[in-house]
């Protein structure tokens, strides 16, 4: 019986729903939320268990938490995004989905939104724990913490788009997951360090831009100090024997948004041309 397929936006919503169902049934969402809760619990409980108590400075408390946001985002992106596209090819599920009257870009965008929503939940839960704990312990809420949350969301969206590009290119789900995790957790951060040590500002690096999430509380320059430039080493106190380029909020945002747009478009381009 001849019938018109739903609009692209309706189909996107359908793909999104079934992708979220995958995360729920596959217990990925549950798993990453457990990890999130575990990290937060360790952060809150360890100082008390070790008898050291919480820091007296209201800035130091959340900065300890924020140092783990990046790894949580990378984990989340690896859990939800790294196999989103490649699995359709490797596991042959594309043979059922692709001959349906739906554009490939809609499939990709539906999966992207589902991954983004799941990762957003993880990031939001983590920040909620930080904010509630900071309020309970210090009775105050830092504006930078809220700004850090927004930046974390933008960072998550941009590396998720990057992960989708990798997923569109890679041949296997395991390779895609391993590459996604190590790229954002090790390879790019190492490149940032090497560039810094060579006195080159890695302003264009996505992980360097993402470091704004935590540096916003610990490095005042990040909040609009006197323009871009290296932060001079403070010797043993910092432990870094070379100038350290600290990104600023605006430049970081621009870099992250560019990564988001370019890698997502590239992922769509590759996915639409990939043959099964």
């Amino acid at each position: 019986m001849k019938r018109s397929p739903p609009s692209d936006s309706e189909q996107l919503h359908m793909v999104l729903r079934y992708e979220l169902l995958k995360y729920l049934r596959g217990q990925r969402l549950f798993g990453i939320l457990i990890i999130t809760a575990l990290i937060a619990w360790l952060m809150l409980a360890l100082p008390l268990l070790l008898g050291r108590g919480y820091p007296s400075d209201v800035r130091t408390f959340p900065s300890t938490f924020l140092s783990f946001v990046s790894i949580l985002i990378v984990l989340s992106v690896t859990f939800f995004g790294s196999d989103a596209i490649v699995s359709e090819f490797q596991q042959r599920t594309g043979y059922a989905l692709f001959p349906s009257p739906i554009r490939r870009r809609i499939i990709l965008l539906g999966k992207y939104v589902a991954s983004a929503l799941s990762s957003l939940l993880v990031v939001s839960v983590y920040y909620a724990i930080i904010i509630v704990s900071a309020q309970a312990i210090y009775g105050t809420l830092l504006d930078e913490l809220v700004l850090s949350y927004y930046l974390a969301v933008v960072y998550m969206l941009s590396i998720l788009a990057f992960a989708f590009l990798l997923s569109s290119i890679m041949k296997g789900t395991t390779g895609s997951a391993v590459l996604t995790f190590f790229l954002f957790q090790m390879i790019l951060p190492i490149i940032d360090v090497v560039l810094n040590s060579a006195d080159i500002d890695p302003w264009f690096s996505i992980t360097n831009a993402g470091s704004i999430i935590s540096s916003i509380l610990t490095m005042p320059r990040a909040m609009g100090g006197p323009g871009r430039g290296p932060l001079q080493p403070t010797g043993a106190a910092v432990g870094i024997p070379y100038p350290l380029y600290i990104p600023e909020v605006l430049s970081s945002l621009i870099v992250m948004i560019n990564y988001f747009a370019i890698t997502l478009l590239a992922a769509i381009y590759v996915f639409e041309r990939r043959e099964l």
Binding site: R3, P6, M14, Y18, L21, A96, P99, P101, E275
Partner: protein
């Protein structure tokens, strides 16, 4: 074209509505490539493919809207049940939820998966997944069905059931484009055959016309007692008999050229020789002779 390998060479094939076409060819002939192009899984390096008159490359959404397809043996999301998978694919095709439930029940019943409708597909065998694949292709009652070896992975009963489903589709006036390695299957369910070899279309015609290409039939004769040399000699001299081979002590394979009347005469002749026949039956399909003959010519 894959790198420098030409998978399809100027293939020009038009299938009229309501036709059940068997798409035949040896391994590597380009059958699956053709089906993948039609279902947008791959893009041709040149040329166009149309479904319902719509170019599949430029408007895949419209082109595939009234098409059901089974390509290779697809996998399904292991966390979904057949009912949920049909809901997903039905929704993508614009079916209403009550229509999906109703048709879902019907097609799952048709492919004999009713009792598995709410079990996760992850636990299914290959044959059961093939049944789910067929169910999703039938779900929206499409006008065109593209089936890539639809009985692959099925047990003999499953194969028979699928053939019956395809026959019903043919009776309903659906257009069926079906690739298969099983010539007897194609002969049983299709009315037209397209034969492909090394990417080129060798022939496309009705089966009744193609059968005339190779008039030689093979007849297997079984007897209670092994035929004597004298009887064998007589058989060779019957009209239409091209050769006689003794494939077992009591089994003969006769290559025969002739119509039904001549075959009846041969039958009577064998009885007249005193051969105590227990069976007299043509073996292999008419299509098989045609297929082998044409492919052999194509290789030459």
């Amino acid at each position: 074209m894959y790198n420098s390998f030409v998978a399809l060479d100027n293939l020009n094939l038009k299938v009229e509505g309501g036709v059940c076409l068997g798409f035949l060819g040896p391994n590597g002939a380009g059958k699956t490539t053709t089906i993948k192009i039609l279902t947008t899984l791959i893009k041709p390096t040149s040329g166009k493919a149309y479904l319902n008159g719509i170019d599949v490359s430029s408007d895949p959404k419209a082109a595939l809207s009234d098409v059901g397809a089974v390509v290779e043996t697809p996998e399904f999301y292991s966390y979904l049940t057949p009912n949920e998978m049909l809901s997903y694919l039905g929704e993508l095709r614009g079916m209403a939820s009550n229509e999906i439930s109703e048709r879902g029940r019907e097609v799952l019943d048709e492919v004999k998966l009713t009792e598995w409708a709410d079990k996760p597909i992850g636990s299914f065998s290959r044959g059961m997944k093939q049944r789910v694949a067929l169910a999703q292709a039938l779900l929206h009652d499409p006008a065109i069905l593209i089936l890539d070896e639809p009985t692959s992975g099925l047990d003999p009963r499953g194969m028979h059931e699928v053939r019956e489903i395809i026959k019903t589709l043919k009776e309903k006036g659906k257009t069926v484009f079906m690739s298969s390695h099983l010539l007897s299957e194609v002969q049983e369910v299709c009315d037209t055959v397209a034969l492909l070899d090394r990417g080129r279309l060798i022939v496309c015609d009705k089966i009744e016309n193609l059968s005339k290409i190779s008039p030689v039939k093979k007849i297997e004769v079984r007897a209670l007692v092994a035929p004597t040399d004298s009887q064998l000699d007589h058989i060779c001299r019957f009209t239409g008999v091209r050769s006689v081979k003794q494939t077992g002590s009591q089994v003969l394979l006769i290559e025969f050229e002739g119509d039904e009347d001549s075959m009846a005469e041969l039958h009577n002749g064998l009885l007249g020789l005193g051969l105590k026949m227990t069976s007299f039956k043509p073996t292999g399909s008419d299509l098989e002779g045609m297929y082998l003959e044409i492919i052999a010519e194509s290789v030459r």
